[in-house]
C-alpha cells in the first residue's frame, strides 16, 4: 500500500512539473468534441442521441494518449529500470500506475465534461453527477487494461500506434456499457442501467485481477 502511494505521489509530482499528460488529454478531448460538432452540424438529428457516443469517443481516445505519455515518461532515461529495481512487487507497481493514470484521466475528464454540457446545450443538473459516476467506472476500466497494454506496446518500435490497436478491441465492452449507461441517464429512462453498471464493474474486477497477476510477465526483461 505504501509503495503504491509512493508511485502515485511520484507521478503526481512529475505531472505537476511538466503538465504533459493532463494537458494533452484535455486538449485532445476538447478537439474531439469540437470535431463532432462540425461532423453532425449539417444533419438533422437529435443531439441528445449522439451526445453519449461523442463523449465516450473523446474520453477513450484521450485516455490512449495519456497512457502513451505515462509509459513514454518511464522509458525515457530508463526510469522503468529504476522502478523494477525498487523493492516492490510487480503487482503493486501495476496498481500504482493504474491509480495515477486513473487520477490524470479523471482530472482531464472533469474539465471536458462541463464543456460537453455547454457544447450540446444541455442543462447543468444532478444528472451530471450520475454521468460523472459512470465516467469514473468507465475510466477505471480503461485505465485497468490500458496500463498493462501500454507496457506491452512500449516494447515495440511503433508504440504510439500499437497501443490503440491492442486497446480498442479489448475495451469494446467498456465503451458499449458506458455509452448505454450515459444515454440512459441523459434520456431519463434508467430501467436497464443496472446491467450496464454490472458489466463495467465486472470488467474492472476481472482485468484488475488478471493484470495484477500477469504484470510481471509484461515488464520482465
Amino acid at each position: 500500500m505504501k509503495s503504491m502511494s509512493a508511485i502515485i505521489f511520484k507521478d503526481i509530482v512529475i505531472e505537476m512539473r511538466n503538465k504533459e499528460s493532463i494537458t494533452s488529454m484535455l486538449m485532445f478531448g476538447v478537439l474531439v468534441l469540437v470535431v463532432f460538432q462540425f461532423a453532425f452540424e449539417t444533419i438533422n438529428v437529435e443531439r441528445g442521441l449522439l451526445a453519449p457516443g461523442t463523449l465516450w469517443v473523446a474520453f477513450s481516445f484521450a485516455a490512449i494518449l495519456g497512457l502513451n505519455r505515462s509509459l513514454a515518461m518511464e522509458i525515457d532515461n530508463d526510469c522503468l529500470q529504476g522502478l523494477l529495481l525498487a523493492p516492490i512487487s510487480r503487482g503493486e507497481l501495476y496498481l500504482g500506475k493504474v491509480a495515477s493514470n486513473f487520477i490524470f484521466m479523471m482530472i482531464a475528464e472533469a474539465i471536458v465534461l462541463p464543456l460537453f454540457v455547454v457544447f450540446n446545450n444541455l442543462d447543468f443538473n444532478l444528472k451530471f453527477l450520475e454521468v460523472a459516476a459512470i465516467a469514473c467506472l468507465g475510466t477505471l476500466g480503461i485505465a485497468s487494461i490500458g496500463t498493462i497494454l501500454s507496457t506491452i506496446s512500449a516494447n515495440t518500435r511503433i508504440k504510439e500506434v500499437m497501443l490503440p490497436v491492442l486497446q480498442i478491441p479489448l475495451t469494446v465492452p467498456v465503451i458499449i456499457a458506458s455509452v448505454e449507461a450515459t444515454r440512459e441517464v441523459l434520456t431519463g429512462d434508467t430501467r436497464g442501467i443496472s446491467s450496464w453498471l454490472y458489466v463495467l464493474a465486472g470488467f474492472i474486477i476481472v482485468y484488475l485481477t488478471a493484470s495484477y497477476l500477469v504484470f510481471e510477465f509484461a515488464v520482465e526483461e
Binding site: I148, I158, V165, L166, P169, L170, V199, S211, V214
Partner: protein, 224 residues
C-alpha cells in the same frame, strides 16, 4: 503419413459436403438457395470459438512451462482464427445482402465475431513488431490471455444490446431442421473440422521451421 490420411479425408469430406449442400439438402421455403451458405457459415463460426479456446490453452501452457512450443501453438490457433472468422464474416455478409438487405448489420453475433477477429489481428500485429522470440512469446501470451478473457465479457455486453441475428435453430430449444438438412450440416461440420485439424497441423509445422530458420540465421550472424 498421418497428415496425408488427414488431407485425403478432408478432401473427400469437403467434396461430399459440397455435393450435399448444393444437391442433396432441400431448398429452404422462405430464404431459397441463399440459405445453403448457412451450412458453411455455422461451422466456420464455431471454429472461430475453437480458435479462441485453443489460443487460451496455448497461453496457459506457456505461462505454466515457459516452453516456446506453446507459443507456436497459440500463434497457430490465432492464425486459423483470423482465417476462419474472416471467411465466416464474408459468408455472413453474402447471405445478409439478399435476406436482410444490407451487406452488414451491427447485430450482436456479427459484432462479437468482428471484435474477436480484431483481437486476433492485434495479436499478430504485436508479434510482428517483437523480434526477440522469448520476449515475443511472453508479451503475446499476456495479450492473448487478456484478449481471450475479453471474449465472454464482450459476449455479455453485446448480447444486452438487442439482437437481430436468426436464433440458433439446431441448439436445444431451437425450431429444429428437416433430417436432410441436419445430415448436411453434420457432414459440413465434419468437413470444416477436418480442414481445421489439417491446417492446424501444417501451420504448427511451419511455425517450428520458421523458428529454426530464425535460430540458424542468428548463429550465422554470430559467426560472421
Amino acid at each position: 503419413m498421418k497428415l496425408k490420411v488427414l488431407a485425403i479425408l478432408t478432401l473427400v469430406s469437403m467434396l461430399t459436403a459440397l455435393y450435399m449442400i448444393f444437391l442433396y439438402a432441400p431448398r429452404e421455403a422462405l430464404q431459397g438457395d441463399a440459405q445453403r451458405i448457412f451450412y458453411i457459415h455455422v461451422p466456420l463460426a464455431i471454429s472461430g470459438y475453437v480458435s479462441a479456446f485453443l489460443l487460451l490453452i496455448g497461453v496457459i501452457g506457456f505461462f505454466r512451462t515457459g516452453d516456446l512450443k506453446w507459443d507456436r501453438f497459440g500463434e497457430t490457433a490465432a492464425a486459423l482464427g483470423v482465417t476462419f472468422i474472416s471467411a465466416q464474416l464474408i459468408t455472413g455478409s453474402l447471405w445478409s445482402r439478399p435476406i436482410w438487405g444490407p451487406w452488414w448489420v451491427w447485430d450482436a453475433r456479427t459484432t462479437l465475431q468482428l471484435v474477436l477477429d480484431l483481437i486476433f489481428i492485434a495479436y499478430f500485429m504485436l508479434r510482428s513488431y517483437l523480434p526477440d522470440p522469448q520476449k515475443r512469446a511472453k508479451l503475446s501470451a499476456v495479450f492473448g490471455l487478456l484478449g481471450m478473457i475479453d471474449v465472454p465479457i464482450n459476449y455479455l455486453s453485446i448480447y444486452l444490446v438487442r439482437t437481430q441475428h436468426p436464433q440458433a435453430v439446431v441448439s436445444p430449444g431451437g425450431g429444429g431442421v428437416s433430417p436432410e438438412m441436419g445430415l448436411t450440416l453434420t457432414v459440413s461440420f465434419t468437413a470444416v473440422g477436418l480442414l481445421y485439424a489439417y491446417l492446424f497441423n501444417r501451420r504448427l509445422a511451419i511455425a517450428k521451421v520458421e523458428e529454426e530458420v530464425d535460430y540458424l540465421e542468428q548463429v550465422v550472424l554470430a559467426h560472421e
